[in-house]
Amino acid sequence: MLRVEGITKSFGGFMAVNGANLEVKQGEIVAVIGPNGAGKTTLFNLITGILRPDDGKVFFKDEKITGLPAYRICRKGMSRSFQVVNIFQRLTVFENAQLSILSRQGKTFNLFSPSKRLAVDETLKILESVGLVNKRGHISGSLSHGDQKVLEIAIALGGSPELLILDEPTAGMSPEETTRCIDLIQHLSKKLGLTILFCEHDMELVFAIAQRIMVMVRGQSIIQGLPQEVRSNKEVQDAYLGENENGTC
């Protein structure tokens, strides 16, 4: 479904991503791991069009999407959440999810129909699936950090994606919130059949839910394979697991 070939991006003289490769198949849950500064977030920004790559190609559903602006890539069926909470702070929880749906439906240039009657059922369904339905009237900026991260996922779901990209979905969450988030990701994969690509520091989470794992070190992808392959790979142990058994979480 998603194929990244030799993608490269430098900031000034620093090679943030240096010829990384990645493949995600339909229905899979794929994790990207790597030490801090390995270029995971930059890789996701390159895939989703927030940044333009210097070199390399990105294919989504066998179509080349390299260098397209983010809003066009999103419309092709790829949604993402962000590592740092990135929500519409002054809008309510309901409006956050609804706006994403309205955007997908191409209604954002509709000037005169009242939005409070649009896409209500679908919005409620999404909030129900992520467990925020009871907080739908809250101003999103006033939510707890964990809830804001979950709202991130809800906004991404509003785009009705085939591929969902999550950038450190559990960063900063409490243990209970993390457990809930794992359940949520598995639910999305099994019940809604979403293909999920995520990166994470929490090794427990990665090995619990990822079907395949890609390891990044200093901007390069050193291996992509099944969890046990990754765990037993010498290079990975040297670069990453060896020096920090449990990751940073």
């Binding site: 989703t48 927030i50 002054r90 209604k107 509709n110 129909s113 939005s115 009237g137």
Partner: protein, 318 residues
């Protein structure tokens, strides 16, 4: 609970509408004119707030579109000899067009950079109007614009201004509540996220700028109706600042805030300047006090006092 407060708001607006409809029968000519001036300035400030408060776009030189609307209307009537009713439509459309051109140039920049470039381009428009004696009358402006007899009297001009302002506010209210308005607020809160959910951020903002320019043009046209004149100060950058102050004083995250801010500033200016030449000094002090003590603006403060637990009461919504 929510229904009840909404009902109250509705009846308050209806009551205000009736009072303003009857006002000319009870007031002296000067006060009728003053009310008209408040509508014009309020509408002008609200048009700015569409992009400033709802859009998060730093439109620092909004007065350009107000001036272009006014000059467009006045010149159509005086120089081109066109019927006034046609001029009333052309003025705002011209303002919207200028807004589109300036928007296309400025929109690539964000935040402060957008504002700076906008001030520069707007000042160019001002220079043209200020210097082009043959056509615009230069620093004299245009005076004695003849209007249709229906709206030539003080009362006629008042009612026209009032009704057009009310209609404009209604349209703006619909826009703010529409998916377009939502998207605009989303972009204000988080442009990166907006793009990541599939919005064409720049295009969305450009359309907002054109709409705001149009309504500023409507306000400019209405000024010609109540004052029969247009002058270069209407597109000088200091007026733009005054309008920003109106938005902030009234409350720029509320819909009617800028109208209230406009009313406060126009009324104060009129009364204070009969006592002192240093009106701008008073304006500055008021502005500072509001920023320090009422950061949400006057209306923002009142609404918060009326609904202290907005998050909680809004729970049962939808």
């Amino acid at each position: 609970m929510k229904q009840e407060t909404q009902g109250k708001e509705f009846w308050f607006i209806v009551g205000l509408f009736i009072v303003l409809l009857l006002a000319p029968f009870a007031l002296k000519r000067f006060y009728i004119y003053l009310l008209g001036l408040i509508f014009v300035n309020g509408l002008f400030a609200m048009s700015l707030n569409l992009v400033l408060g709802y859009g998060g776009i730093f439109q620092f030189h909004h007065a350009v579109f107000y001036g272009v609307g006014a000059y467009g209307t006045a010149l159509m009537i005086t120089k081109l000899g066109q019927p006034a009713w046609l001029a009333f439509i052309v003025g705002p459309l011209l303002a919207a067009f200028v807004s589109l051109v300036m928007g296309v140039i400025c929109i690539r920049l964000s935040k402060l950079y957008f504002g700076m470039l906008q001030i520069s381009l707007g000042s160019l428009v001002w220079v043209v109007v200020y210097r082009w004696y043959d056509f615009t009358g230069g620093d004299n402006g245009i005076h004695g614009v003849t209007l249709p007899s229906l709206i030539a009297s003080t009362k006629g001009a008042y009612y026209f201004t009032f009704l057009v302002t009310a209609a404009s506010l209604l349209v703006m209210y619909l826009i703010v509540q529409s998916p377009f308005g939502r998207a605009l607020q989303g972009i204000r809160d988080n442009p990166v996220r907006s793009e990541a959910v599939g919005m064409h951020v720049r295009l969305q903002q450009l359309v907002a700028l054109v709409i705001a320019g149009f309504f500023a043009g409507v306000a400019g046209t209405l000024f010609v109706v109540i004052d029969n004149s247009a002058f270069p100060d209407m597109l000088f950058w200091t007026l733009s600042l005054e309008i920003v102050i109106m938005c902030l004083v009234g409350g720029w995250f509320t819909f009617f805030g800028p109208m209230l801010g406009g009313a406060i500033m126009v009324a104060l200016r009129t009364f204070a300047s009969t006592y002192t030449e240093y009106w701008t000094l008073i304006q500055g002090i008021i502005f500072m006090l509001v920023i320090i003590f009422l950061p949400e603006g006057v209306l923002g403060y009142i609404l918060r006092k009326l609904k202290p637990h907005k998050e909680v009461t809004a729970k049962g919504e939808y």
